[in-house]
Amino acid sequence: MLNIKNLQVGLEEEEKQILKGVDLNIGEGEVHAIMGPNGSGKSTTSYVLAGKDGYEVTGGSATLNGEELLDMEPEERAAAGLFLAFQYPVEIPGVGNMTFLRTAVNAQRKARGEEELSAGEFLKEVRAKAKSLKIDADMLKRPVNVGFSGGEKKRNEILQMAMLEPKMCVLDETDSGLDVDAMKLVAEGVNALRDGKRSFLVITHYQRLLDHIKPDVVHIMADGKIVKTGGPELALEVENNGYADILAEVA
């Protein structure tokens, strides 16, 4: 599904290398987690995959089902099936959440040469999906993320994910700022989308999210590289001993 080879990325504005050769292969239906200390390059990986400005790719590649993502505009990546759940979802005043969703869904359908959803079909679908994430009608009407609590923002990201039905989901610190109940709700939303075909990359600082979204593979990232890869037990090791031991061990 997603194949990252020797990905090297610096900042556009200053001479600073952030990713120093990341390799990652995520197969169909797999759930991978990337853990790592602050500043290790976790979020940069997600931004570069989604196509955010401000980064310069100096080497390597990232393909989604064989297609080179790094040559595409952000919207083309989305249409190709990539979705990034933001760590800090952006507020768009005056634009109803529902309008935003519908515009996005139809933009992608159009880009893929599919029929647009009618207002009725769209409403039916969004209502059903919102319900399972405990998103009420009011939240659908309010402007995108404006005045949303931390939990509401993250649930809204998952609703977008559910509506857009991507092939490859990247979740950037989706657990940050959430209490346990909110985290459970978000994790249930994500688990509901696991269908054996859709793949996930869960980026997190803490192990606790991985109690709820069980990964197949866990990677540890440090200083711009994947330094260790293992099963779910690796996350527990981090939880118990911190990053220091692992880093010392691979150094």
Partner: protein, 501 residues
């Protein structure tokens, strides 16, 4: 259910409209019809000629000549934050009409030159009675809009005349009104915007050639939306239209105004006057979607739009609402105003002004509170892109007798790119201590993070800008009648194409 979608502000139609249009000024074509011009320049003879062409009563000619005499003594105002080459008022044609309209005016729309009708069809304006405005399907079945179409200096036809007549509503071109209802015109013309009001209004008083006239009798709720479409076609020609709307006691009317012009290298002048008279308990909603040619991307050509619009709330509890979406014109100089004379009268002003490339807009409103408990509300959204300059200029004046008068002003500016400017110039005069004035102003930029967020969900850059800007304008778009709101959203999107990146 569908209600929820309609209220969301930005519809998918916006996005479709953006996609389907090339991004060029789509109204920029010109119509090849034989035109009849008055001689170039402005003299007393031209004023007489215009009056004669319209077969006006003697008093009208006198009034025009009086205005012309005054105008000669006046100087062009220079206080607005706009910069344009000096206009040579002797290098403009003050009257142009399609030759087919010359001798015998067509008796019905069926007699109108098909080329003219084609022009309006191309613009998406339904002159045929069953058609609906701008090709947008009305949500509640058969919603009707009566249209008066003004082509250069003359009105080419007004629809739904008979149906309006049954309701007692008079809706016709002002030149016709001068023939059929001269007393009404005489009674009200110049009473809201006096002949000597300002340089452009005085010029208009001398040379106005046509425009719309609306009279709503006491207690009548106008059975349909009324609208006028102004089209400048002839080259080098000024358009000077005059609109007069009178709403008698307890009456109601919603009036829409749309404007377009062909794409030409040389700037053209448009100086209109609009007067609204609102009696006790009456209400007028006046909406404008102005899309005159803004000049090309290098700043060549375009319309100079110098307009005086004023509403006089003469009776108690009279209400007026101005809503404007100004996306066109090279230079805009326009301040639709409300004189709140009657006690408890209300004035509202909702405005979206977009300036892209080299456009300049200096626009706002004046709220003159004279009566007790008068209320006004101003919501202005200015959007600047490219190298454009956008100024909000507004006056709120609370007179000594305007006890408990209230004003709320909200003035937001949005910048796209780093070569444009937004300016806010509020004037506030309060002469009594029970009045309350609130003013809020913000300036923001279209945020890269917002655009990236939208794009990462699959929208392309222009869809993303359109979405964010339409969100910014939401409060004003909501104030427009449904049919116009759609058109306005599409316009917002189109006029900002190419502004990012």
């Amino acid at each position: 259910m569908t209600d929820m979608i309609a209220k969301d502000g930005v519809e998918e139609e916006t996005v479709e409209a953006v996609k389907s249009l090339s991004g060029e000024y789509k109204y920029g074509f010109s119509t090849d019809v034989e035109m009849e011009y008055a001689p170039l320049g402005l003299t007393e003879d031209i004023v007489r000629l215009i009056s004669e062409k319209n077969e006006e009563p003697e008093w009208m000619l006198e009034w025009r000549l009086q205005a012309f005499e005054r105008w000669k003594q006046m100087e062009e105002p220079d206080w607005a934050m706009v910069d344009y080459p000096k206009i040579d008022f002797q290098d403009i044609y003050y009257y142009a009409r399609p030759a087919s309209m010359a001798e015998e005016k067509p008796k019905s729309l069926d007699d109108v030159d098909p080329k003219l009708l084609e022009t309006y069809a191309k613009l998406g304006i339904p002159l045929k009675e069953q058609a609906l405005l701008a090709g947008v399907e009305a949500p509640e079945g058969e919603r009707k809009v009566a249209v008066d179409a003004v082509f250069d200096s003359v009105s080419v036809g007004t629809t739904f005349q008979d149906e309006l007549k049954k309701a007692g509503v008079i809706f016709m071109s002002i030149s016709e009104a001068l023939k059929e209802h001269p007393d009404l015109v005489k009674k009200y013309i110049g009473t809201v915007v006096p002949q000597s009001d300002n340089f452009y209004a005085t010029l208009n008083s001398a040379v106005f050639s046509d425009g719309s006239f609306v009279y709503i009798p006491e207690g009548v709720k106008c059975p349909m939306e009324l609208s006028t479409y102004f089209r400048i076609n002839a080259e080098n020609t000024g358009q000077f239209e005059r609109t007069l709307i009178i709403a008698e006691k307890g009456s109601y009317v919603s009036y829409l105004e749309g404007c377009t012009a062909p794409q030409r290298d040389v700037a053209q002048l448009h100086a209109a006057v609009v007067e609204l008279v609102i009696q006790e308990d009456a209400e007028i909603k006046y909406s404008t979607v102005q899309n005159w040619f803004p000049g090309d991307a290098e700043g060549k050509g375009g319309i100079y739009n110098f307009v005086t619009k004023r509403a006089d709330c003469r009776g108690d509890r009279a209400k007026v609402m101005w809503t404007q979406v100004e996306t066109g014109s090279a230079v805009t100089w326009k301040y639709p105003s409300c004189i709140l004379r009657g006690d408890d009268s209300q004035g509202e002003f909702y405005s979206i002004a977009i300036a892209n490339n080299f456009q300049q807009a200096d626009t706002g409103t004046k709220m003159i509170h004279l009566g007790k408990n008068t209320k006004s509300r101003i919501v202005s959204k200015g959007i600047s892109a490219g190298k454009a300059q956008n100024t909000y200029r507004g006056l709120v004046s609370m007179h000594p007798k305007a006890a408990n008068a209230r004003n709320y002003t909200q003035c937001d500016s949005l910048l796209i790119g780093d070569k444009c400017g937004a300016h806010t110039v509020p004037y506030i005069e309060v002469k009594n201590n029970t009045a309350r004035v609130e003013h809020e102003a913000t300036t923001s930029k279209v945020d890269d993070d917002q655009l990236f967020y939208c794009r990462s969900r699959g929208m392309d850059e222009e869809e993303a800008v359109a979405l964010v800007v339409n969100g910014f304008c939401k409060e004003v778009l909501q104030a427009l009648p449904m049919e116009f709101a759609m058109e306005a959203q599409a316009l917002v999107a189109i006029s900002l194409e190419g502004s990012v990146g």
